[in-house]
């Protein structure tokens, strides 16, 4: 839907939604939120762009192709389970750092896992949406 009103608003809303999605991701461990809903919200940010300015405008601000996001996210999620395995503990045993980081909070493998979920979900939703919208536009 090409509308000045929408596209102008989308430009402001887009970074806001992304920022909010990151917020949801990292606070999910302690409050409502998490990788899923964070990834979904991030995806809506791109969806907003593609809806108001076409898929190409959304792809332009995507750091990597959706497939790559999916792969990367899965790797993150999978990889987060490996350190414990290397340490002789069961797969996906949570390992936590003794300090806290800004934004992220206390780093630990479950946080990495959740980040993987976020990236995967973002990639998946965009893969689906872009594919369909591009075909719809064609």
């Amino acid at each position: 839907m090409r509308s000045v009103i929408l596209s102008a608003a989308a430009r402001l809303l887009f970074p806001l939604l992304l920022l909010f999605s990151v917020f949801l991701l990292f606070r999910g461990h302690n409050d409502p939120g998490g990788g899923f809903v964070g990834g979904l919200v991030a995806a809506t940010a791109y969806a907003l762009l593609s809806l108001t300015g076409g898929v190409s405008s959304a792809r332009r601000v995507l750091p990597a192709r959706p497939e790559v996001l999916v792969g990367t996210g899965l790797l993150l999620a999978l990889g987060s389970g490996l350190p414990s395995l290397a340490a002789g503990r069961p797969f996906m045993t949570g390992l936590w750092a003794g300090f806290a980081l800004p934004v992220v909070g206390k780093p630990g493998t479950p946080v990495l896992f959740d980040t993987g979920v976020y990236v995967t979900v973002l990639g998946i939703v965009l893969l689906i949406l872009f594919t369909l919208q591009e075909e719809d536009e064609a």
């Binding site: 497939e67 790559v68 999916v70 792969g71 990367t72 899965l74 790797l75 999978l78 389970g81 414990s84 395995l85 002789g88 503990r89 069961p90 797969f91 996906m92 045993t93 949570g94």
Partner: protein, 501 residues
């Protein structure tokens, strides 16, 4: 032990991820796929060898003690299923090099089959009912995509039927898992088994159990819930169909066996006769359906249904020998049925068609292909000393020892009709002279290796199982003994907590 149990999940997942990342580099994706298949095979064999002495391997994912986290468990049956699945995957990946068109390969065949393998392994190894649901979904979703990966009319319409029916089954399964939690307050199978022993056998939980029976029954393609299978299994390319035919329904059977022996084993007076009746009807309708077909793929598809009946028969009989028969049957069938579908692909490649009316002269054209067909076909029909004979023999013996002559009669009659079907393919495709207008297309040297190689290798497995039936029987018997002693499983999973179970 921690590693052994997760490798069958991690290796295919990592391979699938590599496949996704390499989607635009088909050669590399193929290499990764082959490597992954080999890796899974090696990992699964290591897993199996660790369970051979009767050890039930357990790992508590995340180090959360059962029943709180998700437990991965491998007893003999589960480990063997993983191995056979890996064998089939390796064969399918190998035959896809020539057996699959480039477009499909690029469209994600490799990541999809490995995702499927991950789902299948997960379903075999998990000790948690909801986790089983998740693995089922992984497997189904991959199969959904694979079945429709051709974009031709029958693939898509057949795919739609397949998808909808399996989603109905998933919805039932999900509901069952939720309701089970709502009654016993746990999802861990071992824990649920303990909890259920403290409840009346014929209360609400038995209704929930029936819900699972229904959901797994659809996945296993049991009578009368199998309609989706012959409507869809013949549609994808044969390497894909082989994977489906070998593995997917068997996961349903596995789930029935696992839950039937571990969790829902309290109401046998109700479930056993039901299972036996379903088994008989499944055998008969499947084989009758097969008799009428003239398309090789459809003949084979209907036979899957029929043979599911045998596996259910063992479960319904419920004795140790019968369960050993089911275990034996399932393991043998994965190899044989997968192989037959691969052979069907080669038949089509050499003979130019799947239709028996348009095939002929293949014995002259490719005696090696004929041999490759005969071994699994005769095994399927239960001819000694091939693997299928022993599977049938065990079930027949178990049935007669349990005094269930009627179902044994059905099983034997159905095996005769199976022989009829297989010889029909033989007579029409191999013996009969090639009909007018059929264009022979001899295999090139490379094709002979990549198409017939996997097929002959699986055939060798069938022969080996048959000639060394004792080895597999001893294993199946031990697996059955383990299945019939749920206390072992419970103690392995729950530790001292489950000691009383």
């Amino acid at each position: 032990m921690n590693v052994l149990l997760v490798l069958p999940l991690l290796v295919p997942l990592a391979t699938a991820v590599a496949g996704i990342l390499l989607l635009r580099v088909p050669r590399a994706a193929r290499a990764a796929s082959a490597l992954g298949a080999a890796g899974l095979l090696a990992a699964s064999i290591a897993l199996l060898s660790a369970t051979l002495d009767g050890t039930i391997l357990v790992t508590q994912a995340g180090a959360w003690p059962a029943p709180f986290g998700i437990t991965l468990v491998a007893d003999r049956f589960a480990a063997a299923m993983v191995v056979v699945g890996a064998v089939l995957l390796a064969a399918v990946v190998a035959s896809s090099v020539r057996g699959l068109d480039a477009a499909r390969e690029r469209a994600g065949f490799h990541p999809l089959v490995h995702a499927l393998a991950m789902g299948v392994s997960g379903a075999f190894l998990t000790g948690d009912l909801f986790n089983l649901y998740v693995w089922f979904e992984v497997m189904l979703m991959s199969s959904f995509v694979l079945v429709s990966l051709g974009g031709e009319r029958e693939q898509l319409t057949g795919g739609l039927r397949y998808v909808v029916l399996n989603l109905v089954s998933s919805a039932l399964f999900l509901a069952g898992a939720g309701l089970l939690y709502g009654t016993v307050g746990t999802l861990n199978m071992a824990d649920a088994a303990v909890a259920l022993r403290a409840m009346p056998a014929q209360g609400t939980t038995s209704v929930v159990a029936a819900l699972f029976l229904l959901a797994f029954g659809i996945k296993a393609a049991a009578f009368p819930l199998f309609f989706w299978l012959p409507a869809s299994y013949h549609t994808p390319p044969m390497p894909i169909a082989a994977l489906f035919a070998g593995l997917l329904t068997k996961v349903g059977v596995y789930a029935l066996v696992r839950t039937g022996t571990l969790v829902f084993d309290r109401d046998r007076a109700f479930t056993d006769p039901l299972l036996l009746a379903v088994a008989a009807l499944t055998m008969v309708t499947g084989v009758l359906g097969a008799m009428a077909q003239t398309d090789v793929r459809k003949v084979l598809s209907f036979h899957i249904v029929s043979q599911i009946g045998y596996m259910l028969m063992g479960l319904g009989l419920g004795t140790r020998l019968a369960l050993a028969g089911t275990v034996f049957y399932v393991l043998h069938h994965i190899v044989v049925k997968g192989n037959l579908f691969l052979v069907a692909g080669v038949i089509r490649r050499v003979g130019g068609s799947f239709s028996l009316d348009r095939l002929g002269g293949l014995l002259t054209r490719s005696p090696l292909l004929a041999a490759a067909f005969l071994v699994p076909a005769l095994s399927l029909a239960g001819l000694p000393p091939l693997s299928g004979f022993w599977a049938k023999y065990l079930l027949v013996r178990a049935g007669l020892e349990a005094g269930h002559g009627a179902i044994v009669g059905v099983a034997l009659a159905v095996s005769l009709l199976t022989l009829f079907s297989m010889t029909k393919i033989w007579a029409e495709a191999f013996w009969k002279p090639a009909p007018e207008g059929s264009d022979p297309a001899p295999l090139g040297a490379g094709e002979r290796l990549s198409l017939l190689g996997p097929v002959l290798a699986l055939g060798a497995v069938t022969v080996a199982i048959g000639l060394g039936a004792g080895v597999l029987f001893r294993f199946a018997d031990a697996a059955a003994a383990q299945l019939l002693e749920p206390g072992l499983y419970v103690r392995a999973v729950l530790g001292a907590r489950g000691g009383g179970g």
